[in-house]
């Protein structure tokens, strides 16, 4: 009997607490805890923004040199395989997609835009054998659930330090040594435009066999197989390097903007919470005063 009674009492008590939470009536302590945590988060996002800004400045400086390099590396492919307006060439069956992302998140939509683009291509594959080389953990994580079987190579440990030519060489070697005779390769990366904008773009790379079939190659002088092979292998590394640089710069700039937004939002929350905190404190004081006064009046 007694137990039953206490049971109902407890039930009433819990429902009361629930009702309180639903009304958003937090105690002083609750508010101060939340306030503190939001302040800490703001500190973190602010310092992340500073770090990203410093890294971005360096990345952008590096990009100037790398861009001339990348555009130069592309020139041969543009010349040998000119894009003709209005004519869509038949897509070869065996393709490789090289995704350039990094291991680190908290940088807006740079990685997901690459993953999105890739999903788009894979969705429209229709009998083609398209394999994915995911550079950076974010690309792998984004694709592994739906297109896990398309991923044939992954690479990580990228994004901590600025990409170097050595990194690109490792990636290029991995593609060439993978034993997959692709007919067309595409590098998907984020091309840096301004601090607040980037564009998800593609660079086409042709393997040795595909270059040999191009008519334009006949106009080139003294091309033997050895030279051509070294050249294509080398230019793959060059193009990957260029794409990595562009992606890294986009990532840092995007992280800067994202963290700036996060700091601003945190600031807004801090303002609101401080107001609520002060109001509640005042209410508590007033209530105590009333209690004391009315108590005194009764005596």
């Amino acid at each position: 009997m007694l137990r039953q009674g206490s049971g109902t009492l407890q039930l009433v008590a819990t429902s009361f607490v629930n009702a309180e939470q639903q009304r958003g009536f937090a105690t002083l302590k609750d508010i101060s805890i939340r306030l503190k945590s939001v302040k800490n988060i703001q500190k973190i996002t602010k310092s992340m923004k500073m770090v990203a800004a410093a890294k971005y400045a360096k990345a952008e400086r590096d990009l100037k040199g790398a861009r001339a390099y990348g555009v130069g590396a592309k020139a041969f492919f543009d010349n040998i395989d000119p894009a003709v307006e209005g004519v869509t060439a038949e897509e070869p069956k065996k393709q490789v997609l090289i995704l350039i992302t990094s291991d680190r998140g908290l940088c807006g939509g740079v990685h997901s835009s690459i993953v999105k683009e890739t999903k788009n291509i894979l969705n429209n594959a229709e009998g083609k054998d398209i394999r994915v080389f995911a550079i950076g953990d974010k690309a792998r994580a984004g694709l592994s659930r739906l297109y896990g079987q398309s991923i044939f190579l992954t690479g990580n440990e990228i994004g901590r330090a600025p990409p170097t030519f050595g990194d690109a060489s490792i990636a290029a070697k991995a593609v060439l040594d993978a034993g997959f005779d692709f007919e067309k390769g595409t590098i998907i990366f984020n091309k840096f435009k301004t601090v607040v904008s980037y564009e998800t773009s593609k660079i086409n790379v042709l393997p040795l066999e595909a270059i040999k079939t191009k008519e334009a190659l006949n106009t080139y002088d003294s091309v033997d197989d050895d030279v051509l092979q070294s050249y294509t292998e080398y230019s793959l590394a060059q193009l990957i390097y260029y794409a990595m640089k562009e992606s890294a710069t986009s990532e840092q700039s995007s992280r800067m903007t994202a963290m700036d937004g996060a700091s601003k939002n945190a600031g807004e929350m801090i303002g609101k919470l401080t107001l609520a905190f002060n109001r509640t404190r005042q209410a508590v004081i007033t209530r105590e005063l009333i209690e004391i006064i009315s108590g005194a009046a009764c005596v």
Partner: protein, 165 residues
């Protein structure tokens, strides 16, 4: 490894690109030689009009003038010599990379490492050569081949430094 090796010779010398000074020329005039000469981190020439470029490739030194027949090549360690329209000559050491002269008349020299001749530290190059020669005799096949490349680069560096090319 190679990149690091070459970088060490430029001890204490700050590197500066000429991209800012190079004139931009976007018009595709086939009578001009438009040169892009870059390393992964600096662009020495970015689509700039020059008179002549001499490039050491695996097939021998190639001299490129305007209207050169399209070609591609792979660089070997040596000195790239650029003559601008005023006749001024710049000599730059390259470790490896690619050369392409295209149908549209543009020329790209893309090196893995570049170093101005004045910046080569001769003693460091000599030490490197000795170390590489020592390393080329031992280890696995791959290590031997890598050491062989180091020897080639160091030899070319020394050659470039002492100006007997």
């Amino acid at each position: 490894m190679l990149a690091r090796t070459v970088q060490r010779f430029a001890a204490g010398v700050s590197r500066r690109g000429y991209a800012a000074a190079a004139a931009q020329a976007k018009n595709a005039n086939p009578e001009e030689l438009r040169l892009t000469f870059a390393s992964p981190d600096t662009a020495l020439f970015s689509n700039a009009v020059v008179k002549q470029v001499d490039v050491p490739t695996l097939a021998g030194v190639v001299g490129v003038l305007a209207n050169h027949v399209p070609t591609i090549g792979v660089l070997k360690p040596g000195v790239v010599q650029v003559t601008d329209n005023e006749g001024g000559v710049q000599r730059v050491f390259v470790s490896s990379g690619t050369l392409s002269v295209n149908i549209d008349g543009s020329c790209q020299v893309l090196a893995e490492e570049v170093l101005k001749i004045e910046d080569i530290d001769e003693t460091a190059a000599r030490n490197e050569l000795e170390a590489a020669q020592k390393a080329s005799g031992e280890g696995s096949e791959v290590a031997k081949a890598e050491a062989q490349i180091r020897v080639e680069v160091a030899e070319a560096l020394l050659k470039a430094a002492t100006n007997q090319h």
